[in-house]
């Protein structure tokens, strides 16, 4: 698809606008940024597919660079075989989910995917531990102690695991998220 070039055709633009939560301007800016990324990518590596940015270059994006979940974000939104490169449409998907006007439903769905590290469709104890570690930083001095971690995960499961199967599934996750008014405003990445 020639979607990554800076000249988007009118139909394509309209289509993108219809299918994502982005406005025309946002799509245009995104296409500009993506073209820049492509150029950067071409300089650093020479074996790239056409119209795709490698994961390494993509994570250099200033909006993502410092994010502790950047690799997860890339993994969730990438549609390539090994989840290691982003096409323009993947990029748009990502921006749409993180945009202002995306609904809580969409946002919570992607948040769930991002936090579901092993990809089994439920947040298990291991997933939660990894999530907390990423939130607090993985260094030894900033990490929670083992006891604290166990207590924390026990509490989280007690609070949100409604069907008591030891994991948090998507419905339960959404149930929790919908109680937080701040989530929609904090789950946002603006270009």
């Amino acid at each position: 698809m020639g979607g990554s070039s800076s000249q988007l055709s009118k139909e394509l633009l309209n289509e993108y606008q219809d299918l994502t939560y982005l406005t025309k301007q946002e799509i245009l800016i995104a296409s500009q940024r993506f073209t820049d990324l492509l150029q950067k990518d071409r300089k650093s590596t020479d074996t790239t597919e056409t119209g795709r940015v490698s994961k390494k270059t993509f994570l250099e994006l200033p909006e993502l660079k410092a994010n502790p979940f950047k690799d997860r974000i890339c993994y969730v939104f990438s549609t390539s075989e090994n989840h290691d490169s982003m096409s323009f449409e993947d990029f748009l998907d990502m921006l749409s989910a993180f945009s202002d006007s995306a609904t809580l439903e969409v946002k919570s769905y992607y948040a769930f995917r991002i936090y579901d590290f092993d990809g089994d469709g439920a947040l298990s104890r291991e997933d939660l531990e990894m999530l907390v570690n990423r939130l607090t930083g993985e260094e030894e001095n900033s990490k929670l102690s083992k006891d604290e971690m166990r207590q924390l995960i026990d509490n989280i499961l007690e609070e949100s695991d409604i069907d008591k199967d030891g994991t948090i599934n998507h419905s339960e996750f959404q149930h929790v998220i919908s109680r937080s008014p701040d989530f929609v405003s904090s789950f946002k990445i603006i270009l």
């Binding site: 939560y21 924390l152 409604i162 339960e172 109680r179 603006i190």
Partner: protein, 773 residues
């Protein structure tokens, strides 16, 4: 008995997600399909995985089926979730079978993909189902639905394409072939131009980059201050536009005095008096007659010329209506925003899972600087540890002595606060009395600029109070050592707010009651306008000084002393209260000084840049947990309740029951400003008898109290109904919660019963199986 149990799942299937089905009527079949898949998936998972509860693993197939149909499994099941689950499941299935991924599959219209196995057919069936459901919806709804699917763009496009195709539409892409090359090129060029224009407009969006930068470094908490400032700026821009268009410009076009007697000295920018007194800035300058056919009242030819075109422009009416309209629309917007904000931040029903919320929702994805991310991590870690320590059961109760001391400290600090409010009110009262006596005495002797400059100590004193006392409250808050940081913030806000309310109350009393009595022969409205102008300017100056000394100097001192990078925290609550105070001044002053919204707009613009620069240079992230949406709701409420409501009460009192001064302003020769409307209607009736219906309508709807009572009664009834509905909903929520708890117990009970039944059954069967093996 076991036979009946085995039958249960099929019965259950019929109604388990029934309420969901009602809501998402259009997608019932897809959801149902997805749910059936859940059932199928659940069974092997329950058997094989070792890390689930051991007891669960042994449960029988039928038990699992029943479990999957339990109401709790379907809580919050939504259309998007179901759809995506079903899509992702197919992805998983394909991956597990080592088949090409779903995305290469999407082009299955091509002949190259030939073999289709069973699962592929099932998937196509799924897709067909989705498409047919999509077709049932209308155009706009379909777009909204497609947007809300958490699927990748390519899949969405495919779905849309299929939907359109079967609808009988052709896609736009192929239409272009029939166009001639010239028109094609023209349309392309215009399209390209339009794109350029769009990107240019995007760059112009006000403060997008600045807000992103602030959000990137400080997260939502500091951002909420700037967003609040932006909201205020919007209100002021609207008000300034109204005032400029309908009050200031018409009067400026028809100046009624030949020249200003006073000359301009730079002191006016501070005092607002002197040269400015007889200009469009103040109430006193505005004329009390019709502007563009006022040849009789003025000999000026420029006035006469306007009379030729259009309707007469009656200044008092314009003045009254513009300000009334401005306030009314501001009120509506404010209340609307407040209700939205309340709806967002205080959802019906509360959820006690603090830790889960903290872990799932606390990360701010906006933050994009490495150092700030580090800081956010530290904050999250600290807050989690605090919350965990609260959850630990061994919280020792403080002994009696400590508690007594704590109570004493609390009482003492509140007494101190009350003293500060009383003191501030008294000081403002005394200074104001003294200065105005002095002012009157000096005015008789003459010496213009000095007279006006002598009035400056009052705003100076008030601003000083506003600047210094909050620091005292902050210190008191540190001394009190309250348990919850949220409570601390609210108490600080409450104290600051009361201080401001007290001071402004005293000032308003002075302006209206005393000025209206004392300055009878003078134009007291202009005087009040000047006072408010001085207050606004002084507030700005003190804000800037506070930023300079409180933040910049403090940082320099800290850096010198500790020899390291050390920054102060940005006190959002205090800064927002300053904004609210400034806005109240502006609202109070609109009637007396129609140019004040413009001044306020400029002030806010300046403040935005200064505060942003100071924040970037001098401040660090607040370490306290800051519930941004709750706090912004609180601020909006404060802006609405004491600030806007107070200003409106003040203005309505002025309009309805204070006599305007006789010698100046648009309302001279009237008993109250409000009478202008009545007066005009009477005049209209006299000059144009055919328009008497206007006066009759005015009489029956406005003067007659019956309609007002009726409107009030209707409003009260509506409010009553709403309260009843909300109460009912609350009760239903309570009942549902109880029901959920009961269901949980039922579930445990049933599972145990089932378990025991199947255990018995399998024990009966096991010997046979053993024999077979």
């Amino acid at each position: 008995m076991s036979v009946t149990f085995v039958d249960i799942p099929d019965v259950q299937e019929d109604y388990s997600p029934c309420d969901e089905r009602e809501v998402h009527n259009s997608f019932s079949s897809v959801i149902e399909e997805a749910e059936n898949d859940v059932l199928l998936e659940l069974i092997p998972r329950g058997r094989n995985s070792g890390n689930r509860r051991n007891a669960l693993c042994e449960y029988h197939h039928a038990t699992m089926r029943i479990l999957a149909n339990m109401p709790s499994r379907t809580i919050g099941r939504c259309r998007g979730g179901a759809l995506s689950e079903y899509y992702n499941r197919t992805v998983r299935k394909r991956q597990s079978k080592k088949r090409p991924s779903l995305y290469s599959m999407e082009r299955r219209a091509r002949p190259s993909v030939k073999q289709k196995d069973l699962s592929e057919e099932a998937e196509e069936e799924h897709q067909r189902l989705l498409v047919s459901e999509l077709q049932k919806t209308s155009g706009a709804q379909r777009i909204r639905l497609l947007q809300s699917f958490p699927l990748s763009l390519r899949v969405k496009r495919e779905l849309r394409y299929l939907t359109l195709e079967t609808d009988g539409f052709r896609k736009g892409r192929n239409v272009n072939f029939c166009c001639s090359s010239v028109s094609d090129r023209i349309s392309l060029a215009t399209h390209r131009f339009w794109l350029m224009l769009l990107s240019a407009l995007y760059a112009l969006r006000p403060w997008h980059a600045a807000l992103k930068q602030i959000g990137g470094r400080f997260g939502s908490s500091a951002l909420s201050y700037f967003l609040f400032l932006k909201t205020l700026l919007g209100f002021n821009l609207f008000m300034s536009l109204l005032c400029l268009l309908f009050i200031v410009t018409p009067q400026a076009v028809h100046p009624h005095r030949s020249s200003n007697p006073r000359s301009f000295t730079s002191l006016e920018l501070l005092t607002g008096a002197g040269y400015f007194t007889d200009t469009v800035m103040y109430y006193g300058y505005y004329s009390n007659n019709t502007l563009n056919d006022g040849c009789s009242s003025s000999s000026n030819t420029s006035v006469c010329r306007g009379g030729k075109g259009g309707l007469p422009y009656h200044m008092p009416l314009a003045y009254l209506f513009t300000i009334g309209f401005g306030f009314l629309s501001t009120c509506i917007i404010l209340v609307y925003r407040m209700s939205c904000s309340f709806g967002e931040s205080f959802r019906v029903g509360f959820f006690s899972g603090v830790l889960a919320l903290k872990v799932f929702c606390s990360w701010d994805f906006k933050v994009n600087r490495i150092r700030c991310v580090q800081r956010q991590k530290e904050n999250v870690c600290m807050q989690l540890k605090e919350l965990l320590s609260e959850h630990l059961p061994d919280r020792s109760n403080p002994d009696f002595k400590k508690r007594l001391r704590h109570v004493c400290v609390l009482i003492f600090s509140w007494i101190l606060c009350a003293g500060s409010w009383l003191g501030a009110a008294l000081a403002v009262h005394m200074i104001s009395e003294h200065l105005h006596k002095d002012h009157r005495a000096r005015q008789r002797t003459g010496g213009e600029p000095e007279v006006e400059a002598m009035l400056l100590p009052l705003p100076l004193a008030v601003s000083l109070c506003n600047l210094l006392l909050p620091y005292m409250y902050h210190a008191l808050g540190l001394w009190e050592k309250l348990d919850s940081p949220i409570l601390e913030v609210y108490i600080a806000i409450c104290r600051n707010l009361l201080l401001k309310v007290v001071i402004l109350g005293v000032l308003c009393y002075h302006w209206i009651i005393r000025k209206a009595k004392y300055l009878e022969n003078k134009c007291w409205e202009t005087f009040v306008g000047q006072e408010l102008f001085r207050f606004v300017i002084m507030d700005l100056i003190f804000n800037l000084l506070d930023t300079l000394f409180g933040e910049l100097l403090w940082r320099l001192i800290l850096q010198k002393k500790r020899k390291q990078k050390c920054r102060t925290e940005f006190d959002i609550a205090r800064n927002v209260l300053e904004l609210i105070y400034g806005q109240t001044l502006a609202w109070l002053g609109v009637l007396f000084c129609p140019i004040i919204p413009v001044v306020q707009t400029l002030k806010l613009l300046l403040l935005f840049y200064v505060k942003k620069a100071s924040l970037m240079r001098n401040c660090r992230n607040p370490s306290k947990p800051w519930r941004a949406s709750h706090m912004s709701t609180a601020f909006l409420t404060l802006l609405c309740f004491p600030s806007f409501l107070g200003a409106s009460v003040f203005l309505s009192y002025t309009l309805w029951s204070v006599q305007p001064s006789m010698s100046c302003g648009p309302f001279r020769s009237l008993n109250t400003m409000y009478e202008a409307g009545k007066f005009y209607i009477k005049q209209l009736e006299m000059t144009n008898p055919q328009l008497s219906w206007v006066s009759r309508i005015h009489y029956y709807l406005w003067e007659n109290t019956f309609f007002i009572y009726l409107a009030a009664a209707v409003l009260l009834i509506v409010i009553y109904f709403h309260i009843q509905i909300v109460n009912g909903q609350r009760k239903i929520i309570m009942l549902l919660k109880e029901q959920i708890a009961n269901e949980g117990e039922d579930k445990c009970f049933l599972i145990n019963r089932l378990h025991s039944v199947y255990e018995k059954k399998s024990r009966r069967h096991r010997p046979k199986i053993g024999n077979n093996r």
